[in-house]
Symmetry: C2
């Protein structure tokens, strides 16, 4: 697989999605131009997470798009996912780098310059910086200012995707800052037409 | 590390333990004769599970005793634990056998003959058979009869530990059935003196 295209990074959300299944949600996101998919599952058994991940992976593989598993490196290993994404309360990137196969994409959530620098030093391949805005998914997260985002961009060399309330209204604020892509959850998966929503977000970001 | 001694298999429980820390709980269980320790953590972040596992592993390694991680194969890999234990709702043993390092101890919970046979075929090293009795830890589990336990013993060759309400009162019922050891949670970790409780359970089982 080539280098991931971070332009439009779509995270799943079983509880927010407009589609009847995660698989359909992912199909539509890819149809609309998602270049990378993150599967995020909470409060499900490991077996259920594994089954869903295997099923979603068949879809992403058919489109040649990397699948990133949120938090659970064991699920990523079990299905042979292309990557794993961790937050500050998950396994450290340095530990993942040691235990995952060579070439595994490791992403880390960062909301401060210190977290960003540490993640890059630990071997992260990209950063998810946010939450940029308050969202339904992470209502309690502290927001990252544009000033901090600029500082993070200056502090690290790895790709940065921004996350948290990224939508048609907020996208213009984040252009020209050296950000590699936008990561979205509800703006795509909760949209009545996720493919159309993805296309519009991608166009606006690239415009 | 040699073959595990399944005689007294102690599972941790942060919510039931009488000790102020998991580490102290494990120290006392080992002092009382536990030959194998399972770390079970639910509803904690991956980072917190990892930190606890690393800390408990230092203790078990100092005593030359295998540490088994419940469910989370990624935590087991991250700390280099000797094994992982999975239930029927966790990753299948066949998948774990492929993704874990050679020599990893893989345990599977089984409550029926079918589950036991499949686990052995999938490459499990031992079975946790139960729940033998209703317990506070697994109040909703269906109980395994002595008849089923005997059938499972005839059906598989791998070691069997029984779990679920195994205590000084119930131990005599399970002797002479070809069971390799007893797995306990509260009978040790919730006891006022876990080391003394472990010693007594082990002695009664071996008597």
């Amino acid at each position: 697989m080539q280098k991931p295209d971070y332009t439009l990074y779509v995270c799943t959300d079983r509880h927010l999605m407009s589609s009847p299944t995660i698989e359909e949600s992912v199909e539509k996101a890819i149809e609309g131009g998602a270049g990378i998919i993150q599967l995020r599952e909470k409060d499900v058994s490991s077996r259920s997470f594994y089954d869903t991940a295997a099923s979603v992976h068949r879809i992403t593989m058919a489109h040649g798009i990397p699948l990133i598993i949120n938090d659970r490196a064991d699920i990523a290993l079990a299905i042979g996912a292309e990557g794993v994404h961790v937050g500050q309360e998950d396994l450290p990137a340095s530990v993942l780098r040691r235990m995952m196969p060579e070439g595994t994409i490791i992403g880390v959530s960062a909301s401060t310059v210190e977290e960003a620098i540490r993640a890059e030093a630990d071997g992260a391949d990209y950063l998810g910086v946010g939450a940029m805005n308050p969202t339904a998914t992470k209502a309690d997260a502290e927001n990252v200012t544009i000033g901090t985002l600029k500082e993070i961009r200056r502090a690290v060399r790895i790709p940065i995707v921004i996350i948290g309330g990224i939508n048609m209204g907020t996208i213009p604020s984040y252009k020209g800052l050296g950000v590699d892509g936008i990561a979205v959850v509800s703006a795509v998966v909760a949209a009545p037409d996720p493919a159309e929503a993805a296309r519009k977000l991608r166009s606006l970001w690239l415009a």
